[in-house]
Symmetry: C2
Subunit: 171 residues, 2 copies
């Protein structure tokens, strides 16, 4: 798919077909996250990939409103060392956002929908995903083929008008 | 460009040709950021776009090590309301990361290089960009055609091996 189509086709997907992702496609999505930059190239993020149906069902209890995770073909959990201070936390969250978007656009290019969720229950996430005490997980990205309709460029995203959001030269 | 090529072609660009960006291309980059999701679709980010050479030169003093901003064809400043608490700050930074990556990949697709920088001197940024007291700017994205070599898929990104970063099933 052309890049601009993939960027516009990415949308939050909350229901998935019961169909696995090809290994090569999942690998490409992970590579996209791996390529994303990080502050001073610290590369502190790691990814835990879950495709096991029972574990996905348990992950759907990570917070309210993410029952859809149980039906995903895969979940990528972003695991980081907690930051020592406010500035480090902001850099870490920013870097997770970059990696997440890189993975979501790459997924969209392959016709794979994505829906990301913040983790409320870090203890549950740690128990299910097995990451050590010196790491935490804030974000899960659910992946799968959309059950509602295939991905296609979204013509009218629900956003404030672009002209209101963009200030030219100066606010 | 195909999406996977654009995702792999994005790299930090720190020197730019002295050549303006077509308005339509800059507009597309901004649209990509505008399309990026935000927590509960709060859409709190706004963009200030600078192409004025004198202002770009002043923006290059926003922190150490970003002199390259003076040579950019354009800068997109991400402006946000400060968060009330730690969780809000993390969501805000995450959303900025998503918008930044969407813009950088879209730019790469158009052959436009990008280099983003954290803002150290919010007072200087506010004076130059004119945003109100109830907003702040953490991130600038410099854009322009690379002076060193055109963008092309990076074959060997400087990253730890992908197999070390990815954990299958469980950490």
């Amino acid at each position: 798919m052309q890049t601009w189509d993939a960027v516009r086709a990415r949308r939050n997907v909350r229901s998935f077909e019961d169909r696995p992702l090809p290994d090569a496609d999942l690998q490409r999505v992970l590579e996209a996250g791996w390529r994303a930059p990080s502050a001073s190239n610290n590369q502190q993020r790691e990814f835990v990939v879950v495709t096991d149906r029972a574990t996905l069902a348990e992950l759907s209890r990570i917070r309210q409103g993410v029952a859809y995770i149980a039906g995903a073909a895969a979940v990528v959990a972003l695991v980081y060392p907690p930051a020592g201070d406010e500035r480090g936390a902001a850099f870490g969250a920013f870097d997770q956002g970059q990696a997440t978007m890189a993975m979501m656009v790459t997924a969209a290019d392959l016709g794979i929908g994505s829906g990301h969720a913040a983790v409320d229950d870090d203890d549950l996430a740690r128990r299910l995903l097995g990451y050590p005490e010196d790491r935490r997980c804030d974000i899960l990205i659910a992946l799968g083929y959309p059950a509602d309709r295939p991905l296609a460029p979204v013509q009218h995203p629900k956003r404030r008008p672009l002209d209101e959001v963009v200030h030219r030269g100066r606010w």
